[in-house]
């Protein structure tokens, strides 16, 4: 039986580091991880059977959420491990080449872009910050009064009044949440190098209560992470009822790897905040 044709799955481009740091890891599909170095850059790579990652397989596999979860987590684990040792620019899931020689030539060709991207995230980590608004947890002012019909009030009137109270409560919660987002951002921006806004995650399936009104990522220098987290904690402690702040990380700087920069735009593009795209789906 002949050995299956191999391909090189690339997780990230990094500053060279000791290969032992990733040597023990199981990458995508459980395959081992190695480094492909080229003049001051190192690609973090797994040799994978081509037939598991060729176009046909990927088309089918990307629809398989089980496969996707496993590969996404493996990808993340390897990126994360590398990021613990050096500056990394994570690549998007399933970036695959025909062998390590091809990877080396990609490093050579993309050298300037990789250098810029690495420079931008050097010595930094990313934190995810989410704000949730949950009108249901908010006690309406004078809640006891709103329950049941008032004397002399028809059932119809009582219904309309309750609906109105509900709506007011919701509007009020959104307003409170919006103010909180501003306040939070002002506190965090002080300790962050850059900020990116992601689309809010849909709560109906995330299992989180409340609606995700802010989903942001902050790029924070290693030395500032303590101050950043303290600032987040302070705002979190004072978050009004009906709102909730969650912080995740530190992450490898996924959100600041600079997609645009590699297409030739200025490095400052990473500072720009992605405008929320008109309305949630």
């Amino acid at each position: 039986m002949s050995a299956p044709q191999e391909a090189s799955y690339v997780y990230a481009v990094a500053r060279p580091f000791a290969a032992e740091a990733v040597a023990g890891l199981a990458g995508v599909g459980g395959y081992p991880v190695h480094l492909v170095a080229h003049e001051g850059l190192a690609a973090v790579v797994s040799a994978v059977p081509l037939h598991e990652f060729d176009e046909e397989a990927l088309r089918a596999n990307l629809e398989d959420l089980g496969w996707l979860e496993e590969v996404a987590r493996a990808h993340h684990t390897v990126v994360d491990a590398a990021a613990r040792h050096t500056d990394v620019v994570p690549l998007r899931l399933a970036t695959v080449y025909h062998g390590d020689e091809r990877v080396r030539s990609v490093l050579a060709e993309g050298r300037a872009s990789f250098e810029r991207a690495l420079g931008r995230v050097a010595g930094c980590v990313e934190f995810g910050v989410k704000v949730y608004a949950d009108p249901a947890t908010r006690t309406p002012a004078g809640a006891e009064k709103s329950s049941g019909a008032r004397p002399g009030e028809s059932p119809g009137m009582a219904y309309l009044r309750k609906r109105r109270e509900q709506r007011d409560r919701r509007d009020d919660t959104w307003r409170t949440a919006a103010e909180l987002c501003d306040r939070l951002d002002a506190s965090l921006a002080e300790w962050a190098r850059a900020r990116e806004r992601h689309r809010p995650q849909d709560a109906s399936l995330s299992g989180e209560s409340g609606e995700n009104v802010l989903n942001a990522a902050y790029l924070v220098a290693d030395g500032d992470t303590g101050a950043f987290l303290d600032a987040a904690q302070r705002v979190r402690d004072s978050a009004p009822e009906g709102t909730r702040i969650e912080v995740s990380g530190p992450w490898a700087p996924y959100s600041f790897a600079g997609v645009e920069a590699l297409e030739g735009t200025a490095p400052e593009a990473s500072e720009a905040t992605e405008a929320p795209e008109g309305g949630r789906p």
Binding site: E55, P90, R92, S204, G207
Partner: protein, 150 residues
């Protein structure tokens, strides 16, 4: 070292390093699919597909199991997400194309007959001005249409 075996369905517990919360799947997918540098690999992924996928995933993830429990299976029928559905759609499109081509061929054949006769007629010039104009008019039309196609 993990054996490269098919995924057992048991989600691995992976924490982000020293983080304040574990990396939930929605956060991980958001980053590995949607963020990170996009460079062209040798293996082409249809970027449109993957972008549509991420849009849908935003609605979906956090818990794959939960999605399955809830019977969410739009990806089985959505042409943007399912190659099976896409293939079906493509096949239907191809079949319709084929039918239309046949029909066009039949129509052109039908029209071509008088044209050839007309070409000879104008070349002869004896048939009179009236007959010549009549046949010249349809002869121009297919030519004009070819221009349009270019």
């Amino acid at each position: 070292m993990t054996e490269p075996a098919p995924w057992s369905g048991e989600p691995r517990q992976i924490r982000s390093r020293g983080g304040s919360s574990s990396a939930n799947l929605a956060d991980v997918l958001e980053r590995v699919l949607d963020k990170g540098v996009v460079i062209a690999g040798d293996i082409k992924i249809n970027l449109l597909d993957i972008e549509l996928l991420t849009v849908k995933l935003r609605l979906l993830v956090a818990s794959v199991d939960k999605a399955k429990e809830m019977g969410i299976d739009w990806w089985e029928n959505d042409p943007a997400l399912s190659s099976k559905a896409a293939q079906r759609a493509e096949r239907e499109l191809a079949e319709e194309n084929e039918r239309l081509r046949e029909r066009i061929a039949a129509l052109e054949e039908h029209r071509a007959a008088p044209l050839e006769a007309g070409g000879q007629g104008t070349g002869g010039a004896e048939t009179g001005p009236g007959a010549g104009e009549e046949t010249a008019a349809p002869a121009e039309r297919p030519a004009a249409r070819e221009e349009d196609e270019k």
